[in-house]
């Protein structure tokens, strides 16, 4: 492979073009036309379909009547990461899927309108919310992703002193690090972080709880703790060759593209992406845009069982990503220098038996092993649980999923609430940004209720 040829070099220009936001967003005229199409339903199904219950007809009417500040406030009031959600929400399955116009004509493009209003807020720099009068209560939030930011924002608006402990150098969680820039530019997520910061929330980045600050210190220093540390990188496949050069973690791969040109080299390479979730799709389209010559997604089941959203799958196909269904990786093969040269796979068939998750169980076809020549392998088979942190906090959990009261987010420790991906387990819907935001809000409200309950009892005893 001619890596030295200028044609084969990944240039800053290619990065700019490949990783700039793909969807252009609505023009003003487009937004006016689309917003005027909204029926302004009463008791609207779109609101019910939104995990954060954004008053969608209201924010759309405000766009139609040229009140973009009011529109952005309506969105961000219900969803502190509403600008990111405008881009990454599976709207076809949520608000837009519930739009009454689906069968009558075409659903309102709620996601794009939400983006139009929040883009206006970002560009205008207008102040949307104010911090509450300090009430003397302190809350620590572990993790500065969507759930943590949402909890912190709601608490700050009510006067709580909030400190977010973020392990990475930048807050925002997966919105900042884990979603490809051409779908969600980092600047959007960082604006949301900034909004929370402007309410007086202290965001301590690069601080790992249990390492840089002890659990005891936290528990002693705060009235309540919100655990919203999400999940980790991709767990090992458990097959031979995972340490070879050219094997990448899908989340790390995406992360390296979020702040600039990544150090890794995929230009002209043949890439196999293992997995078929949304992160796998992100890793695949990311590889295409990093100049890979061929990208194949390798999945042991079929299209019917894949967990990626339909629109993600469509997007990947448009990007030229190929799919190897019913293919199980057995071994990654490398050359004498330790570089990946092939992926050994075995063909699978669906048994007709249904597994615990309701999907058909795949079985290897005997003697069907084959070699897939590849230069790189990207692993996207889920995320590691933060068992160490959860156990350091002394919380009950099931396989790394923190046990909580579903309504309040309260963990086995009455001082600690949990929200977001750290409580997400199989059979509990989808790990969506918008769900994490709502869980963060719910934890904040539960804390407020608990605190005011305490105050009431104090007042009660004083009387």
């Amino acid at each position: 492979m001619e890596h030295s040829s200028p044609l084969n070099t990944f240039t800053p220009d290619m990065f700019m073009r490949g990783f700039a936001e793909a969807e252009r967003g609505l023009t003003r005229k487009g937004a006016i036309e689309e917003s005027n199409r909204c029926l302004y339903c009463y008791d609207a199904p779109c609101i019910k379909a939104c995990p954060t219950s954004i008053n969608i007809p209201s924010f759309i009417k405000r766009i139609a009547t040229d009140n973009l500040k009011g529109s952005a406030q309506t969105i961000m009031d219900a969803n502190p990461v509403g600008a990111s959600c405008a881009r990454v929400c599976p709207t076809e399955e949520l608000c837009e899927g519930a739009c009454v116009l689906n069968d009558a004509s075409a659903p309102i493009q709620i996601g794009l309108l939400q983006r139009y209003a929040t883009d206006w807020a970002i560009n205008s720099g207008v102040e949307l919310f104010k911090a509450g009068v300090p009430n003397g209560k302190r809350v620590a939030v572990i993790g500065g992703g969507p759930a943590g930011l949402s909890a912190a924002r709601e608490l700050a608006r009510e006067g709580y002193g909030v400190v977010i402990y973020e392990a990475k150098e930048l807050a925002g969680g997966l919105d900042t690090h884990g979603i490809v820039s051409f779908r969600l530019p980092q600047s959007i997520s960082l604006w949301e972080v900034e909004q929370v910061g402007k309410l007086g929330v202290e965001i301590r980045t690069g601080v790992k709880v249990g390492v840089d600050i002890s659990v005891e210190e936290l528990k002693a220093g705060y009235d309540a703790i919100v655990l919203a540390a999400g999940m980790g990188y991709v767990p090992p496949l458990g097959i031979e060759g995972e340490k070879l050069s050219g094997v990448y973690d899908a989340i790390e791969l995406v992360e390296t593209t979020k702040t600039g040109i990544p150090a890794l080299e995929l230009m002209g390479q043949r890439v196999a992406v293992i997995g078929a979730g949304n992160t796998a799709i992100d890793a695949a389209t990311c590889s295409v845009r990093l100049g890979a010559a061929n990208v194949k997604m390798v999945y042991r089941r079929t299209l019917a069982e894949m967990t990626a959203y339909d629109f993600e799958y469509e997007f990947a196909k448009q990007e030229g990503v190929e799919f190897s269904w019913l293919t199980l990786p057995k071994r990654i093969i490398g050359d004498e220098l330790g570089n990946v040269t092939a992926l050994e796979c075995v063909q699978m068939k669906l048994t007709g038996e249904t597994g615990k998750d309701g999907r058909l169980t795949p079985m290897p076809v005997e003697g069907s092993e084959f070699l897939m020549p590849v230069d790189a392998v990207v692993v996207a088979i889920g995320q590691k649980r933060r068992v160490d942190l959860i156990e350091a906090l002394g919380l009950e959990h099931e396989w790394g999923v923190v046990k909580i009261d579903e309504r309040t987010g309260l963990t086995s420790d009455p001082q600690i609430y949990a929200a977001g991906d750290i409580v997400f387990g199989s059979g509990k819907g989808e790990a969506m940004v918008v769900s994490a935001a709502q869980q963060g809000k719910d934890a904040a409200y539960a804390i407020m209720k608990q605190m005011s309950g305490l105050q009431d009892s104090v007042l009660g005893s004083a009387v």
Binding site: L39, V100, A104
Partner: protein, 429 residues
């Protein structure tokens, strides 16, 4: 293909589509382009003493993202010398002998002024005259236009003066800026008018710029009322046409004007008593070519209805238009929601709940599906739900047999006064 030709008080036209006296009929060039596009007639932009205009002149009202729901202007009559207009009228008529050219006229309310202009325009071969007693701005300040149109006796006198010398049919154009348009219509007829045209524009201020606080439109930061027209005025125009059409004291052909934009509008105006119609705003918005869609739509409609001539439409709905006191108080309609077509936007529920009689309930049916249901016993048949409903066929207004014989307010009062002659109507109420 039905026969679209009309004869309005002796003015023959290949179709009922005339351009109203307005900016699109300012020059021979424009009127000839219009005839080529398919317009059957044109009322030439009002002739009179050339006047100076302002800049800017027009404004519009846009509604929910749609342009030009209503249109407002402060332009005046022709800005060109009479001789130029007369020459172009002559040339145009020569090129289009079968099309109708009507000269709109406006002069000071003096007999000799009217005699002079009538003679000069008839000399170049116009098919008829339209007296502009309607323009609400600019000319009115000089005692012309609406200023004379708002005085029935002045309308009658000026019409008389015109008729003293006119050899072609005389149409009097009426202003809507008056309490009862039929009063002026009757005076025009008394003065000898062969037809009336209505409505002229309605006094209006299109808007106020909420940022500069200037009027819309404004002339160097200053504004004045203009004349309102376009789709938004259609219901007002239609009711005034209907009032004149059913008034026995009027009894002359009507040229309908006011917000006509589609072939359906044309049908409505003709059903309500117009022999022909005039259009301006639709052309201001889309150009002369819009007439092609109007002609085609009208043709197909007439064919569908099996009508051989467009004139068969004239006045057919006038007998259906009367007074509130003649409406059957025992007639009863109720709303019925068709679940198959309902899209569950709940607009009917909230409209009824907040603005009518609280009789549409949001329920869940046996299958767990959200449905809307009318409590018919409480429904007053106001139509509001069916008006706000965005889904085709989701709400029907269904007539119920009340079991009672038709009874109008007027009949009721007659019966009551017959029962007890000593009580007046007011006392009974």
């Amino acid at each position: 293909m039905a026969d679209l030709s009309i004869d309005l008080a002796g003015i023959k036209s290949p179709n009922p589509f005339w351009l109203a006296s307005a900016p699109p009929t300012n020059t021979g060039y424009q009127v000839q382009r219009a005839f080529e596009a398919g317009w059957g007639g044109a009322v030439w932009k009002t002739l009179g003493e050339p006047v100076i205009n302002t800049s800017s002149r027009f404004a519009a009202v846009h509604f929910n993202g749609q342009r030009v729901a209503g249109f407002n202007n402060i332009e005046l009559i022709t800005d060109r010398p009479l001789e130029v207009n007369l020459k172009e009228i002559y040339e145009t008529k020569k090129r289009f002998p079968n099309h109708a050219i009507i000269a709109s006229l406006m002069v000071e309310p003096k007999q000799e002024k009217w005699h002079e202009i009538v003679k000069r325009v008839e000399a170049v071969g116009v098919d008829g005259l339209e007296l502009n007693f309607g323009c609400p701005h600019g000319m009115a300040e000089r005692g012309m236009g609406a200023a004379s149109g708002q005085q029935p006796d002045l309308v009658q006198a000026q019409t008389t003066w015109v008729k003293e010398v006119a050899t072609t049919p005389v149409i009097v154009k009426l202003t809507p800026n008056i309490t009862d348009i039929t009063v002026v219509a009757r005076h025009a007829v008394k003065g000898g008018a062969d037809a009336i045209s209505l409505i002229n524009t309605i006094n209006s201020l299109a808007g106020v710029d909420i940022h500069s606080w200037n009027t819309i439109p404004n002339v160097g930061g200053q504004g004045a009322h203009g004349g309102y027209c376009g789709p938004a005025v259609k219901p007002i125009a239609l009711s005034m046409v209907a009032e004149c059409a059913r008034d026995r004291g009027v009894g002359v052909p009507i040229s309908g004007i006011g917000g006509i934009s589609t072939w359906q509008d044309v049908v409505e105006f003709m059903l309500m008593g117009s022999t022909g119609i005039q259009v301006c705003t639709a052309v201001m918005h889309h150009g002369f070519r819009i007439v092609e869609e109007m002609i085609d739509g009208l043709n197909n409609y007439l064919d569908d209805k099996g009508l051989a001539s467009v004139t068969e439409l004239i006045g057919k709905s006038v007998p259906k238009y009367s007074n509130w006191g003649d409406l059957d108080l025992n007639y009863k309609v109720v709303a019925r929601i068709n679940e198959d077509n309902c899209i569950n936007c709940n607009k009917c529920h909230i409209a009824c709940e907040d603005a009518s009689h609280q009789c549409i309930e949001m329920l869940t049916n046996a299958e767990g599906k959200a449905i809307l249901q009318v409590r018919e016993e409480d429904c007053v048949g106001c139509n509001l739900c069916s008006i706000v409903c965005p889904a085709d066929g989701a709400i029907d207004m269904v007539a119920l047999d009340s079991g009672a014989a038709p009874l109008t307010w007027n009949q009721r009062n007659q019966v009551i006064s017959g029962l007890n002659g000593s009580y007046s109507e007011a006392e009974v109420v």
